[in-house]
Amino acid sequence: MQLTARVAAIGLVFLGVVALVVVLLASGGDSDAAKGRTLTFFVAIQPGGSIEEVSKRCSEESNGRYTIEPEFLPTDASQQREQLVRRLGADDSSIDVIGMDVIWTGEFANAGWVEEWTGKRKKEVTEEVFPGVIETASFEDKLYAAPFNTNTQLLWYRKDLVKKAPRTWDEMIDEAEKLGRDNAGTIQVQANRYEGFTVWANALIESAGTELLSGPETVDLAEGPTTRALEVMGRLANSSAAPPSLSTSNEDTARIAFESGESAFMTNYTFAYASAKEEAPEIAKNMGFARFPGIEANRPSKPPLGGFNLAVSSFSENKDIAFDAAACLANGKSQLTATELDGLPPSRSDLYSTKVVTGAFPGFAELVKSSIEAAGPRPSTAAYQDVSLAVQRSLHPPDKIDPEDASSVYDELKSNLEDAVKREGLL
């Protein structure tokens, strides 16, 4: 008797729990309907909160058509990509909008993971956008993403130590050697073996007057200019101007060293200024800025180009509204939010005279704009990862390059790149 009573009691409790769950699920469904479809936006985390802000604003502006839920990826670019390709490779429908790094476009487009932008929408999201940035969102003349923020590197230097900003790397190394290591005579760059190293190498090679690839599967790499660029790299790495941890440096170690007063020069993205103002006001007071240095005095440099474009996943179940959402997330208003909260340069050239941009980049908004216009983007190819790995394998650590004769390193780089575009061999 007692046993049956207990079984009955347990059964009743169980039924009650089931009923409660059903009610909760149903009410959840109801409130979702009021907010429209939920779109998931996979994007790199931005510490200033601009992603949350634009997602919220666009959800409100949609008048109940959709709600954008940001899903944050790690800060490291390779780890962002790793998480995305694992999902996209498995046809994951839980991604609607993708914050796509400029170097992933070829790969994602060729794999059939992102949708092409056409017609009126294409016109809308490319209006007033820098042509170079549109190229980073395109592959084989088709647009695959709405340009969101862009980015470029400037030369940052100490006005109290250096009278005039150097125009070339050679001038800068001379100047640093003159100052001496004990007197901040070092140059901060990004030379750990990671994507940042490819950024640096590509900018040097582009500035010397040639390029890694001339087409998605053709290696360019004119011998004269490339060798010259590599010799500059080798000269810096083997000189007293190289900081002790050059071959493990990244954007953040460079910033920290510059802010601690260890180095008179640094090439880095635009966040460096706001960071110095916050972390090292004394250094920020004397912080000068100039165009990314060139290789030859008579040839203007081609600074690096970074940034994110917003793509619509081919596996999304709500592609149509995802296009609308991406267009809103990438529009001028959103770009200004990203500039204001996270210091990211807009991809629309007409925004550089706004108060938001001139306030975020005090005195150097025009420099950022001209730097983006002159930038030398990294190659656009579906095998970009292979190309980047080949560059890193051939040139890292940079102190192995003989500053007098870089021809053997040149040969290695060229043959590794040939393999990379054909996707042959191990990398």
């Binding site: 060729n110 794999a111 059939g112 941890s245 095998a383």
Partner: protein
Amino acid sequence: MEAHAQQAPTSARTRSEHRLAWLLCAPAVIAMLAVTAYPIGYAIVLSVQQIDLRFPEEGGFVGLDNYTSVLSSQLWWTDVFNTVFLTVVTVSIELVLGMMIALVMHRAIFGRGVVRTAVLIPYGIITVVAAFSWQFAFAPDSGFVNNLPLISDEMDWFGGRFSSFAVIIMAEVWKTTPFMALLLLAGLVTIDSQLYEAAKVDGASAWQRFTRITLPLMKPAILVALLFRTLDAFRVFDTIYIMTAGAQDTESVSILGFNQLISRLNLGLGSAVSVLIFLCVLAIASFYVKVLGTRVEEGRPGS
């Protein structure tokens, strides 16, 4: 064991018991097939094809082409050398340190529980977390190591091959020595203390007791510990990935496989690397089991 000697039961009963045994094992066998045999088989199938996720329209059977390009690559052999070097050095250091710690844990008179727990803490820490901690400790700008006496403030540990290996080996040893010590301790406690007393009576020194009694009787435990750790060490990934990501020629075969599979999305080539790693692991395991297995029998107490 003798207690289990059985009288032959009726054959019908044996058969039904067998059937029951299989029935009871079936879920485990099916689960094992699903989670191990299937992925291994799939990797082998992928490794003989040209498959690249970024080029979905390409593909097809290419035979052993992927294996040829892996085995003819300088990179593969450099990485095999790195991995074997790391494995031999870390496992040797761990064996010596682990044995010392096991002896201490065995002999600890007071606070036995505390000593054993304290020794095990590093093993309880997630490898990635441990790797990050050591990386920060050795970072030239923010780490404490360069502030120690006798070490240059400007030492860039991850800027050279030798120093990178030194830090990686140290982190690995720090992390897994407790595991080694634990396995060895398990062997140590099985040794009858009367043997030591008898040896003492016969006038054997402490060193003689260690080499003549402890080591021979612990052989099975030592071999098991070595087998586990060698297989583990050969697949080293986390520590290297966090610390150098393979820069300065510190790449292991697992990192090489990761680069082909995840960075390049070249599933054919990457699977070939994975299958080759699998074969290496298989070779190591069968080496221990076949060649050294006989000694396990010899070393068993009471045999």
